[in-house]
């Protein structure tokens, strides 16, 4: 840090690499080509690690101002850096605990004792089991109509039962991986809640949910897994899926990524409840169900757009500024107020990959000029012409 300061005072840039330090005069950036910027430690740090570091930020903004001929190159370098995406494998949470247990016992793997790799003839590996465990992914959204008419009644009638567990997330909270009694996993998005029994019965696994959740259901054909969202019931046979059931949304949608789910509606005729199948979904299909009529509309959907939130990625496509900031409010748990709202709504698309609110707004500022002020949970946005 001290090095940093000194370097800035002498208006030169330092590439610091432990024991190897080279100091570049900042004017040498004049000669920088695209690849020089992308591979420059100082530049990379500004774009990827510390876009909010004031000194770094001021330095680069000033530099761009005084070298307008390099502006395009810098913007392109920035974009390439931000757009780099690395293939990352699925994270299986159990693995970490299972391996740790063995490590703490000082237990070595059976690589040495059992030469399974030398003699195994059949190509199938145990790794496949992880794939089999999770059979489907779907997404579900539902509106207030269902909530008021049936879910409340439902939960009234079940409160008498013992051992119901309810979990809630507040505004701005997300990514909570809950483990259900059968080992299935649920990621709750913000402002969501889920209710389930402490242990499932022998015949069925039933949960109630409001808000949005991503489910990874352990396959168990003898015990169907069902998610109740008001009058709509999603019946799963070993699957992972995402449910979205917010009060301010008027319709319900279920999107299936892999596996198979059946969507049913329940009808309460006084004493009896009957169930009718609405639709069976195949991977890549999304069904929207209208709140009043229960009209069904089938379409295809963008997997990324629907499930990215569980990995901390906020995606928006062709959103107006109002839609965008509504999303940011919910995502970061803040309240946004506007000043000088634009007459023509924005049309923005993009993604924020695990960014802080400040970082996200700064990123936004590159394409849409705004100034902002974050005070605790209140965010003031001033749209600049």
């Amino acid at each position: 840090m001290i090095l940093f300061e000194v370097v800035f005072m002498s208006s030169s840039i330092s590439l610091c690499e432990g024991h190897n330090k080279t100091t570049l005069k900042s004017k040498e950036y004049n000669k920088h080509k695209l690849e020089d910027f992308i591979t420059d430690d100082q530049f990379k740090r500004w774009v990827l690690d510390h876009p909010t570091d004031k000194r770094l930020d001021i330095f680069w903004h000033n530099w761009i101002k005084t070298h307008p001929q390099k502006r395009e190159t810098i913007l392109l370098a920035r974009e390439i850096l931000l757009a780099m995406e690395f293939n990352t494998p699925e994270i299986v949470h159990e693995e970490k605990e299972v391996v740790l247990e063995k490590v703490l016992k000082g237990e070595k793997s059976n690589l040495y004792t059992n030469n399974r790799y030398k003699y195994r003839s059949n190509g199938k590996t145990h790794a496949l089991n992880w794939v089999i465990r999770v059979a489907a992914i779907f997404i579900l959204g539902i509106g207030i109509y269902f909530l008021q008419t049936t879910l409340i009644n439902d939960s009234d009638s079940t409160t008498a039962k013992i051992g119901l567990v309810t979990k809630k997330t507040l505004r701005g909270e997300k990514f909570a991986p809950l483990i259900l009694p059968d080992g299935s996993r649920v990621y709750l998005n913000s402002e969501s809640s889920i209710t389930y029994p402490e242990s499932f019965s022998d015949s069925i696994r039933e949960v109630n949910m409001i808000g949005e959740g991503f489910f990874e259901v352990v396959k168990d054909e003898k015990k169907p897994f069902i998610v109740k969202t008001g009058r709509i019931i999603t019946h799963v046979l070993g699957t992972s899926f995402n449910i979205n059931f917010y009060e301010n949304q008027n319709d319900l949608s279920i999107s299936l990524v892999t596996g198979k789910v059946k969507v049913l509606k329940s009808q309460n005729n006084g004493l009896d409840t009957t169930y009718n199948s609405l639709v069976v979904l195949s991977p890549g299909e999304k069904v929207s169900i209208e709140k009043g009529t229960l009209d069904v509309k089938l379409s295809h959907f963008d997997t990324d757009l629907e499930t990215a939130w569980k990995d901390g990625i906020l995606i928006f496509k062709n959103s107006s500024h109002i839609e965008l900031f509504n999303k940011l409010e919910k995502w970061y748990g803040v309240e946004v107020s506007f000043k000088n709202q634009p007459e023509v709504p924005w049309n923005v698309s993009g993604r924020f990959n695990n960014l802080s609110l400040e970082k996200a707004l700064e990123n936004l500022n590159y394409t849409h000029k705004i100034s902002f002020d974050i005070e605790g949970k209140k965010v003031k946005i001033n749209f600049l012409k």
């Binding site: 690499e17 432990g18 190897n20 695209l34 690849e35 992308i38 591979t39 430690d41 990379k44 990827l48 913007l75 392109l76 920035r78 974009e79 390439i80 850096l81 931000l82 757009a83 780099m84 995406e85 690395f86 293939n87 990352t88 494998p89 949470h93 693995e95 970490k96 605990e97 391996v99 740790l100 247990e101 063995k102 490590v103 000082g106 237990e107 070595k108 793997s109 690589l111 790799y117 590996t125 145990h126 790794a127 992880w130 567990v165 979990k167 809630k168 997330t169 909270e173 990514f175 909570a176 809950l178 990324d304 923005v348 698309s349 993009g350 993604r351 695990n354 990123n363 590159y366 394409t367």
Partner: protein
């Protein structure tokens, strides 16, 4: 990233317990430097070990799977590495950067175990064809509006032509945020400039794709 995800949120889910709980007050370590944490581990601190394990487990698995797609094998290698680290903690060298240190040890162990335990035929099947894959996401293009869709396609084609070593260096530099000297250490290069020129050459060849593209458009207009 993982540190962030685990903080705060889980407080609302106290009744949900994993089978083994990791009883480490992470705040104790978040303030400390790698050097301090590592020397506490060397002095036999169990919680320092668990903190290290917990912090780098996912990075190590992700890194290892670039060498071999057999998840079980990679987990076995990792288990053995951690067991040995704990057994020999006194003998391990000091470090002020834990992640590259673990990468280096893990990288050697995987390569050694692959040689030792895998038949050639099996190796061909499970060793990844496309190690350290990365791409330029077309989605991001929508924010910055600098690259065209065609350019993104060309870039991704060019990325496929990079050598495995170049891609590994890029993985360390941009994804794991290692410095050039740390990359040299992990990849067993005696000179830092080898690591730097791997990254530089790779990026330069990508730039080449973009400027060819520009030339082509230019010619088209002529």
């Amino acid at each position: 990233m993982d540190r962030m995800r685990h903080s705060g949120i889980n407080e609302n889910f106290q009744s949900i317990k994993p089978e083994i709980e990791i009883h480490v007050d992470k705040d104790l370590f978040l303030e400390k430097s790698d050097k301090e944490i590592w020397s506490e581990f060397k002095n036999g601190s169990e919680s320092a070990f668990i903190f290290i394990y917990d912090t780098y487990f996912n990075n190590l698995v992700a890194y290892g799977l670039n060498f071999c797609t057999d998840r079980e094998f990679i987990l076995d290698c990792l288990q053995d590495m951690f067991v040995e680290l704990r057994e020999k903690c006194k003998l391990v060298t000091y470090t002020d950067a834990i992640k590259p240190m673990l990468f280096k040890i893990f990288r050697r162990r995987i390569n050694h175990s692959l040689k030792k335990f895998w038949k050639e035929k099996e190796k061909l099947r499970a060793i990844t064809d496309f190690k350290f894959a990365f791409s330029i996401s077309p989605e991001q293009h929508l924010i910055e509006k600098q690259l065209t869709i065609d350019q993104v396609k060309h870039l991704n084609k060019a990325i496929g032509l990079l050598s495995i070593k170049e891609r590994e260096a890029i993985y360390h530099y941009y994804y794991e945020n290692l410095t050039y000297s740390q990359i040299a250490e992990v990849m067993d290069y005696s000179q830092i400039k080898t690591a730097r020129s791997l990254v530089y050459k790779a990026i330069k060849s990508l730039r080449g794709v973009l400027s060819n593209e520009q030339k082509r458009i230019f010619l088209y207009f002529i």
